[in-house]
Amino acid sequence: MNPLPRARLSRGAQIGLWALRIFAIALTAMVVYTFVVQVA
């Protein structure tokens, strides 16, 4: 299969995706920290 052309994302969409990414990583860190403290 031929590779698809890259989609053009607006600057706003890129900022939104990065904000969501950072938000998800922060929440994951909180869940993992809480889990580690509970186990310890």
């Binding site: 299969m1 590779p3 698809l4 052309p5 890259r6 989609a7 994302l9 995706l17 969501l20 990414r21 938000f23 998800a24 929440l27 994951t28 909180m30 869940v31 993992v32 920290y33 809480t34 889990f35 403290v37 509970q38 186990v39």
Partner: protein, 460 residues
């Protein structure tokens, strides 16, 4: 009618200046499966056509009725009884049906898995982020699946070593056919036994008028600790819509060779899967609710044989046996589907063959990731003193927290007109998708932040 090899999109090779078709063994196998579909369609054999095309949707939905999900539903019933969570399970599976329909449609139209599409359309960074999230949550979830098998076997006095052997053995046996179709049919056959939770629900003889009242009114609304309630809401969402389902159904639809012509059947497959999963999930909650007035909220021995043992004392040995068998099935099917999604994701992002139809050295990465993920999880449950209960309970929450990113990309792909053509999302589907992302984000964030603030003693 679509010619069989056109969908597999065989690579074009230039040999001595001439362009020659060079279909791989994987594509030849897929084309044979497609020929059956085309023959059934040509001869108007509607039920046979349906039988040939169902699979990815039912497997994604019943695969997600996995060990930690069923334990979570039963724990919810034992803690709060019948009430808000009964209709909530139905609502979450309706959300899952909307999301999974998009996955099936995108996979059928583009013939590509989710990881491959994200990587090609939005770049390697986002593709690897998606695959990284998936591998992380899949490893945690797989551990939880082995815990569920271990709980079920423990009720029959069988040790944890056999749980590891059973789960890993099933992965090896099901992939040994080297055919997507045989893998799918074997796992579908196993997944039907998810209905054991419905059998157990009937056996506990609930008051059906109470069940109907709870279902229609969502009352009584659960009381008690706000954090526990948030945990159960986040767990229930994580028990119905997860990143692995997105990867699995889109990749499996592509691996099965589904096309635009099959979207209608794919929708049926997805909706039937969601309906079955909702009914069986409600069954697990009803079984758990039988313990509600018998100190159900204090059943902490889930890492051993707490739930089946408690059911045995309250509802009888028959119910406990069916519930324990259900847990073994739920864990086993999920081990197969989740390790498959790991194989698809890794293969798609590395850019190597990623199909159950594949064989030989080219498919080593796909099969290696498939087996490797299950083997790591199996090894962890054998570690003495490992916090298996905490892992099992946090697996769904972790999936809920990481889900919004995967969902946003899914919606972006499904509304991409350049990619999807006439099969692009309608406006209503887009808005429903955005509402689902918003709802899941708020629920996941509320639990994560509330738990974290309690842990660091900012709130009590």
């Amino acid at each position: 009618m679509t010619p069989p090899l056109q969908l597999g999109a065989p690579p074009l090779e230039v040999v001595d200046g001439a362009v020659a078709l060079a279909p791989s063994a994987e594509e030849l196998i897929r084309s044979r499966d497609r020929r059956r579909v085309q023959d059934a369609r040509r001869h108007g054999r509607r039920w046979y056509l349906m039988w040939l095309l169902v699979g990815p949707g039912i497997l994604a939905m019943l695969g997600e009725n996995d060990g930690p999900s069923m334990i979570s539903y039963a724990a919810t019933g034992a803690t709060y009884g019948l009430g808000m969570f009964l209709p909530f399970i139905v609502v979450t599976f309706a959300m899952a049906a909307v999301v999974q329909e998009m996955c099936m449609r995108v996979g059928s139209v583009t013939h590509r898995g989710y990881g491959q599409l994200v990587l090609e359309r939005y770049g390697p960074l986002w593709g690897w982020f998606a695959a990284g999230d998936l591998v992380f949550t899949n490893l945690v979830t797989l551990i939880a699946e082995f815990v569920a098998i271990r709980i079920g076997l423990a009720y029959f006095g069988i040790g944890p070593g056999w749980a590891a052997v059973l789960g890993l053995g099933l992965v090896l046996v099901t992939i040994s056919g080297r055919r997507y179709r045989s893998w799918e049919r074997v796992v579908l056959g196993m997944a039907i036994f998810n209905g054991l939770f419905l059998v157990a629900a009937v056996m506990v003889r609930p008051n059906w008028s109470h069940v109907g009242h709870a279902f229609l009114t969502g009352s009584p609304f659960p009381g008690g600790s706000f954090n526990t309630l948030l945990l159960l809401i986040a767990s229930t969402i994580g028990a119905t819509v997860t990143p692995w389902m997105i990867f699995f159904q889109q990749s499996a639809s592509a691996d099965k060779g589904m096309t635009k012509d099959d979207v209608r059947h794919g929708r049926f497959d997805t909706v039937v899967g969601a309906a079955l999963a909702a009914v069986f999930g409600c069954g697990a909650l009803i079984v758990g609710a039988a313990l509600f007035t018998h100190g159900g909220s204090n059943i902490n021995g889930l890492a051993g044989a707490g739930f089946p043992g408690a059911l045995s004392r309250i509802a009888g040995g028959g119910v406990a046996t069916v519930f324990a068998l259900g847990l073994i099935e739920a864990g086993a099917v999920a081990v197969l589907t989740i390790s498959a999604s790991t194989g698809y994701a890794v293969g798609e992002c590395i850019g190597v063959p990623h199909s159950f139809n594949g064989s030989g050295r080219g498919s080593l990465v796909f099969y290696g990731a498939n087996i490797g993920a299950a083997a790591i999880a199996a090894a962890i449950i054998l570690v003495p003193g490992a916090p298996l209960l905490s892992i099992a309970l946090n697996a769904n929450v972790l999936a809920t927290v990481l889900l919004p990113v995967a969902l946003v990309f899914m919606i972006m792909l499904a509304r991409d007109r350049e990619l999807m053509g006439q099969w692009v999302n309608g406006r209503l589907t887009n808005w429903v998708g955005v509402a689902i992302v918003g709802f899941i984000s708020i629920c996941g964030a509320a639990y994560a932040i509330d738990s974290f603030l309690q842990t660091v003693h900012v709130i009590s």
